[in-house]
């Protein structure tokens, strides 16, 4: 079964910023996106890239609920579990 890992999450988050300029060390998982210099558009781009890599469709309403990296991790893990 496909799994979504913290390593993969970080990789996708970095890719939304051209691979540079984001501080994703330590306890970044529970920080609100704005504290990570992630604006709403960057969160939308993050969702877009997850959709591409995992062949998921994430509704806009669901994206609006994703406020921290952990939210994304939990949401994608749950959705991948449903699709098995």
């Amino acid at each position: 079964m496909t799994t979504f890992t913290i390593v993969k999450l970080k990789e996708i988050m970095l890719s939304t910023a051209d691979g540079a300029g984001l501080e994703l060390e330590g306890d970044f998982l529970d920080k609100p996106f704005p504290d990570l210099d992630f604006d709403s558009l960057a969160v939308l781009e993050l969702a877009t890239r997850v959709q591409q890599d995992y062949d998921l469709t994430i509704p806009d309403e669901a994206v609006a609920e994703l406020t921290t990296p952990r939210d994304v991790l939990d949401y994608v893990t749950r959705r991948l579990g449903e699709s098995v």
């Binding site: 939304t16 910023a17 540079a20 300029g21 984001l22 558009l41």
Partner: protein, 431 residues
């Protein structure tokens, strides 16, 4: 009235990234025009252009790089240079005291084409969310405002090659209305496969395959122009405010600006046809380009005799070249003023072109030397200009007139005047 001065400049051009690198190349007659390398241009009749080798990572944080097209990278990089040149730290200034007016005409067409290809080959879920903000004309103005925390007026002007001049004219207006500092200028990056195809459709591009013979404005062999990617940014300030904050000096004043607009031609030619320019021949009306120059001179309060150099629009097509030459000759007399077109080394940069010409004219004023027009050798019949050809010409320059024309009927003119006190450190841009 408020005096508007230029306190900083930045350049990202095909023949040089960085103001001094560009200026050295320009004085040396080094062209940035060559074979298109951004994509395979072999199937196209146009194979040459001016591409800018910009390392965006040196100037722009990853987040802004990812969200923007090359056209915005060009302007954002030039803005970083210009702010440093003017010794402005935006974080230390009141956010509503700074605004942005930049020109753009091709939009983020490289970014846009890439995402449209994803849309049609892989489906809507594969289109980047950044497409929503990267492709449109206003992207650069918005991102400059966001990045530097500038909450004064923010605006984009789209008038093709006239845009860079129009943006500076508008920025001066904002300074007169009370915003002490404006970031202005323009950039364009029109070179994607789709972008090139759109331009070829105008019939105005040169299909010559020799970079030294392809773009020859005012020459009897003129047969079209070449496009280029690039841009330039200027920091405009209220002179009193600049002095109060301790600005390092200024390159010159924006002394005059005017724009005119041509009506469509009387004939039924296509909208893109250059026949749409200037009033219908034989109508007896003053050509609009000349009128723009006259209005800009009047705005500056000077006579044609006081102009020391003209930076020409230099379209590179016989009809528009002749019309511009006639406008200049009617104003200044035959060979009455030195005329130059350094854009023969960059190609036409559209919104970036007028902005780059303004920076070039300010550097000419600073160093009292006129950069050359390259590759042109024999003027076309009916054209009798004092063109500065092949070599730069040392010259006393107090007032420079910059002309620009944009597809669709735009004519713009700016008069630049030397500063009353020279730059504190003339080579500060070297830093």
């Amino acid at each position: 009235m408020t005096t508007t001065v230029v306190t900083g400049v930045g350049v990202a051009a095909p023949n040089g990234v960085g103001t001094e690198e560009y200026w050295r190349a320009t004085l040396a007659g080094q062209s940035g025009i060559g074979p298109i390398r951004l994509f395979d241009a072999s199937p196209y009749p146009v194979k040459l252009a001016g591409e800018t080798g910009l390392d965006a990572t040196a100037y722009i944080p990853g987040k802004f790089r990812a969200q923007t097209d090359h056209m915005t990278h060009l302007a954002m990089s030039a803005a970083v240079m210009a702010l440093a040149d003017a010794e402005v730290d935006p974080a230390e200034m009141p956010e509503f005291d700074m605004g942005v007016t930049v020109a753009n005409s091709s939009g983020g067409i490289m970014f846009g084409q890439r995402e449209l290809q994803r849309l049609w080959s892989q489906g809507p879920t594969h289109v980047s969310a950044y497409m929503s903000v990267a492709w449109f004309y206003a992207a650069t103005a918005g991102q400059l405002s966001i990045r530097h925390g500038m909450k004064g007026p923010a605006l984009v002007l789209a008038s093709e090659q006239a845009g860079g001049l129009d943006a500076v004219g508008h920025a001066r207006r904002q300074i007169r209305r009370g915003t002490p500092l404006m970031v202005t200028g323009g950039s364009d990056a029109s070179l994607s496969p789709g972008g090139l195809a759109f331009q070829i459709a105008t019939g105005m591009l040169s299909t010559h395959d020799d970079p030294a013979r392809a773009y020859l404005p005012f020459d009897r062999d003129a047969g079209g122009y070449l496009p280029g990617n690039g841009g330039a940014i200027l920091i405009l300030e209220d002179a009193a405010a600049a002095q109060t904050r301790g600005a390092p000096g200024c390159y010159g004043k924006i002394a005059g600006y005017a724009a005119t607009f041509d009506p469509p031609g009387d004939d039924e030619g296509p909208a893109t046809d250059v026949r749409a320019y200037d009033p219908p021949r034989g109508s007896g009306r003053v050509p609009r380009l000349r009128r723009a120059a006259e209005l800009a001179l009047a705005d500056a309060g000077i006579s044609p005799a006081e102009v020391d150099v003209v930076f020409a629009d230099a379209w590179g097509l016989p009809g528009p070249d002749l019309e511009e030459a006639i406008a200049i000759t009617e104003l200044f007399g035959p060979r009455g003023v030195p005329v130059t077109a350094p854009k023969t080394m960059t190609g036409r940069l559209y919104a970036g072109g007028g902005a780059l010409d303004l920076v070039t004219a300010l550097l000419a004023i600073r160093d009292q030397i006129i950069p050359p027009t390259v590759n042109v050798t024999r003027q076309a019949p009916g054209i009798d200009l004092d063109l500065v050809l092949a070599e730069p010409r040392p010259h006393t320059i107090r007032h420079a007139l910059v002309l620009a024309r944009g597809l669709g009927g735009h004519n713009s003119a700016v008069v630049l005047t030397a500063p009353t006190t020279p730059l504190r450190n003339p080579q500060r841009s070297e830093r």
